[in-house]
């Protein structure tokens, strides 16, 4: 196998893995701050992806415009979802809160998929853009892919900068690590949790628009992505976005290389095997320590 082939596979893996990482960011933020495992998280990608595809097919809107319309909408819906349905459960006993959030998010997953399938049709869709390609030696990259890669990098940097420099980002990290102390510092948990849920959902919406530019979506595809995203945040460390990015990209590349050297039919197994191995080796979750 020539180096070019491997490099080509790596490029493809980085693109897919970057998208995985974007999905994982939202889940990681929400899980870190609100401590809720949102089973409907990946389904948001499926639903927003379908909506974006319909908008593109019906009105030929530019993907940027579609994102500008959908992402704030999802932000609001995510925040309202948390406020209306999940927040009240926090006052219950831990057992009831856990079971309640599972039921609420699973119920939301079913509703989201079904309503989308009824309104937009259950068929698979994408946004069809034909873009020229760039050839570097034997490696080929399309402009769309480059744009998506650039968007992933920009978004990751943006999220990173928000978390590192803004007061909101600081509070998000503080609540993730020590919720009580964050409150003692004046961070109102309700507001921060609501915002986080909104931002986390909006991140997936952003990922959805990028995803549907290269890969097809359908209303029922979300749950597998949720599992994949959880794998990434467990392996990368909860609340650790650079970790999630690295693991997401590695996962995408690993899936490609397994397809190359072993057989594409085994690629979907990689994330699961990785998750199980890491968890068994580090039962309390993986922690990235500085040397």
């Amino acid at each position: 196998m020539s180096v070019d082939v491997v490099l080509q596979v790596v490029v493809g893996g980085v693109l897919l893995g970057g998208l995985y990482a974007l999905v994982a960011f939202g889940l990681s933020l929400i899980y870190g701050v609100v401590r809720i495992l949102n089973f409907a998280h990946g389904t948001i990608l499926a639903v927003v992806g379908v909506m974006a595809s319909v908008m593109f097919a019906s009105w030929q809107l530019s993907p940027v415009l579609i994102a500008l319309i959908l992402v704030p909408g999802v932000f609001v819906i995510g925040a309202l979802f948390y406020r209306g349905l999940l927040r009240p459960l926090e006052r219950r006993s831990p057992l009831e809160a856990t079971i309640g959030t599972v039921l609420v998010t699973v119920g939301a997953l079913l509703i989201l998929s079904d309503v989308t399938a009824v309104l937009a049709g259950p068929m698979q869709r994408n946004i069809l853009l034909r873009a020229p390609v760039i050839e570097v030696g034997d490696i080929i990259i399309s402009i769309t892919q480059l744009a998506i890669l650039a968007a992933i990098v920009v978004l990751t940097l943006a999220i990173h900068v928000i978390l590192k420099t803004t007061w909101f980002g600081l509070a998000v990290r503080a609540v993730t690590q020590e919720p009580v102390a964050a409150e003692l510092c004046g961070a109102r948990s309700l507001g921060i949790k609501t915002l986080t849920f909104g931002v986390g959902s909006a991140t997936v919406a952003m990922a959805a628009v990028l995803y549907v530019l290269t890969f097809p979506v359908d209303p029922y595809m979300g749950f597998g992505l949720t599992v994949k995203a959880f794998t990434i945040i467990v392996v990368g460390g909860i609340g650790n976005l650079p970790g999630a990015l690295i693991v997401g990209v590695l996962l995408g590349v690993a899936e490609g290389l397994v397809g190359l050297f072993w057989g594409p039919e085994w690629s979907p197994a990689i994330s699961v095997v990785l998750l199980l191995l890491i968890l068994v080796a580090f039962p309390a979750g993986f922690r990235w320590r500085r040397a």
């Binding site: 495992l37 349905l85 009240p88 459960l89 219950r92 006993s93 057992l95 009831e96 809160a97 079971i99 309640g100 959030t101 599972v102 039921l103 609420v104 699973v106 119920g107 939301a108 997953l109 079913l110 509703i111 998929s113 079904d114 309503v115 009824v118 029922y220 749950f223 597998g224 599992v227 959880f230 794998t231 467990v234 057989g263 039919e265 085994w266 979907p268 197994a269 994330s271 699961v272 095997v273 998750l275 199980l276 968890l279 068994v280 039962p283 309390a284 979750g285």
Partner: protein
């Protein structure tokens, strides 16, 4: 009386159901059949989740493995017999449960849940790719045998067996052990419960029922493929059903399964659009407004005729012990007196004990010994290493260096659950009761898990004498998490005694008591030694209490032993006084 009538009705209902396949209503037969399978799955899942507190989202994997093992065996030329294939399915599922359980039980909480969930897509990929065994995506085609009637009876029998097993687990020592794990597995372990074997046993039991359910359904359906038995869309349904009814409740999974399956079927037949939305909305609303499950909702608990369905397990246990004579009024505990030889070798020897957490040495080379029948007071500031020392003696922590011997035996290499068997009982500074069990059950659990492995009925009876000894008998039937802090500390004391210890480790149990209560407690500690010969190490801040109770005092400071001697001498030591009362730096000068 009420319980009996409900059970009688259940028996009649089962008998009526058994006639269903003969009545010429195949639709209802297949519908009830799938309800029965769902019940077996939900109920067997709940043994691990509701009883033991481990949310196994991959429970359906065992259903799928059972279905596949059965189908492969049945279609292979070498086997072909249904009975043998069922047995093979059970064996394969059992092996899979043990192999998966060993690594998975290293995990807890959400991590366990998600790791188990990940098993489903993995199983699907494996099944699809291992075509030589599983037929790959072709699935496995079984002969068309029209086995609905027999399969229905098998499913009914399995469902009834699941329910009976639930009752048996609730009643058995094993069930109490599971509830101990659910509440606080470290405490249960220190009481003498070997954790991993117990967890594996629970998973094994639950997986066998799921595997059989899979085998029976595969037989009835006559065709399986990976999507059908490992698909995420179907796998979470039985779990949602159990949660909806009320996980951990005797009737919870049953009510949840019947209700959700009924609603789903009704929607399918009567609504042509958005059934999944309505179905999802029902799940969502119940999660939002009845998050503990329907049967835990106050709304239902107040309806008289539903009351028998909504009771917690504890309520059934209280029923059984309520009738027992309150023989525990006497303040004698059912403990044998341990003879104290005057010149026996020390019971506990600590030699250069070091325990480091990262770079922080909580114990920096502590040596002392405790003679049999001695009451040793252990004193030191917060953070001086007292609790760490207790944790080292009860093997919660492994030593970094040094050696601890109990009755001449080196404790290195022993598991936590073996300590109770060696006669070490302990209390926790911050009480750790099994919150959702009754006070009596808390103590009974000690008796059950401890070295004598008593059966629950006896243990519950015995528990009352320990409770009486700790002045807690009047609170025996309330949930332990409703006790006051002081009562919880007394509960800790009763639980530690119920292990039948040779060596009792008491951690700050008298703090917060009134002076009168403290005096009573001092008498109690002395009596434990005087009447039963139990050796005691008592950590306490109330010096007067130690002064009155202890034969000897050991003082720790910054993980080091700074004094060891009779109370009078130690408490007049200038360095001790300074360390205990004033600025340390000043004392050094």
């Amino acid at each position: 009386m009420k319980r009996v009538s409900l059970m009688t009705l259940a028996a009649i209902a089962v008998a009526a159901l058994a006639l269903l396949p003969l009545s010429g209503a195949p639709y209802w037969t297949t519908f009830v059949f799938s309800v029965l399978i769902a019940y077996v799955l939900a109920q067997s899942w709940d043994w691990v989740a509701g009883e033991m507190g481990y949310i196994n989202l991959g429970h359906y994997v065992f259903y799928g493995i059972g279905a596949y093992a059965f189908s492969i065996a049945l279609t292979s030329a070498a086997i072909g017999s249904v009975t043998v294939s069922m047995v093979i399915a059970v064996v394969v599922v059992g092996i899979a449960a043990v192999l998966l359980g060993l690594p998975l039980f290293r995990l807890r909480g959400d991590y366990f849940a998600f790791a188990t969930l990940a098993l489903l897509p993995l199983a699907e990929v494996l099944t699809n790719n291992m075509s030589w065994l599983t037929g790959g995506a072709d699935g496995i085609v079984l002969p068309v045998d029209h086995v609905l009637t027999v399969a229905f009876w098998l499913a009914l029998a399995l469902a009834v067996l699941s329910f009976i097993t639930t009752l048996a687990i609730n009643r058995a020592r094993f069930g109490f052990a599971l509830r101990g794990i659910r509440n606080d597995e470290e405490v249960a372990e220190v009481m003498g419960l070997p954790l991993l074997p117990t967890k594996i046993k629970a998973l094994l039991l639950s997986s066998l029922f799921a595997g059989l359910a899979g085998a029976i359904q595969a037989w009835q359906m006559s065709y399986i493929d990976a999507v059908t038995v490992f698909g995420l869309n179907v796998a979470l349904v039985p779990i949602a059903m159990a949660l909806l009814g009320g996980s951990g409740l005797r009737w919870g999974p049953f009510v949840g399964v019947v209700l959700l399956a009924g609603i789903q079927q009704w929607l399918l037949v009567n609504i042509t659009m958005l059934q999944a939305t309505v179905y999802g909305a029902i799940i969502l609303l119940i999660g939002r407004y009845m998050p503990g499950g329907m049967l835990r909702a106050g709304l239902l608990q107040n309806i008289a005729w539903l009351a028998p369905l909504t009771r917690e397990h504890g309520a059934f246990v209280a029923d059984r012990t309520a009738g027992q004579a309150a023989g525990g009024a006497a303040v004698a505990m059912p403990l044998d007196r341990i003879a104290i030889e005057p010149d026996a070798p020390p019971l506990l020897v600590c030699k250069d004990v070091v325990k480091a957490f990262g770079g922080n040495r909580a114990l920096a080379g502590v040596s002392f010994s405790v003679g049999p029948g001695e009451i040793l007071g252990l004193v030191g500031q917060n953070g001086s290493g007292k609790t760490t020392l207790f944790n080292c003696i009860s093997r919660v922590h492994a030593l970094t260096a040094g050696e601890i011997r109990l009755g001449g035996r080196d404790l290195a290499g022993l598991r936590r659950d073996e300590m109770a068997g060696l006669g070490v009982g302990r209390t926790y500074q911050i009480p750790r009761p099994f919150g959702d069990l009754t006070v009596a059950e808390n103590v009974a659990l000690s008796v059950m898990l401890g070295p004598r492995r008593e059966a629950p009925e006896r243990a519950l009876a015995e528990a009352r004498s320990f409770l009486a000894y700790a002045d807690l008998d009047h609170r025996r039937d309330v949930r332990a998490d409703t006790l006051s802090l002081q009562e919880k500390k007394l509960l800790e004391f009763a639980r530690a005694l119920a292990v039948r210890p040779r060596l009792l480790l008491v951690d700050e149990i008298a703090s917060g008591l009134t002076p009168v209560e403290v005096r009573r407690f001092v008498e109690r500690i002395r009596a434990v030694r005087d009447d039963y010969g139990i050796t005691v190490i008592w950590v306490e801040h109330i010096a007067s209490a130690l002064n009155a109770a202890a034969d000897r005092i050991v003082v720790l400071e910054q993980g080091q032993l700074i004094a060891d001697g009779p109370p009078a001498a130690v408490f007049s030591d200038r360095r001790v006084l300074a360390s205990y009362l004033g600025n340390t730096a000043e004392a050094m000068q």
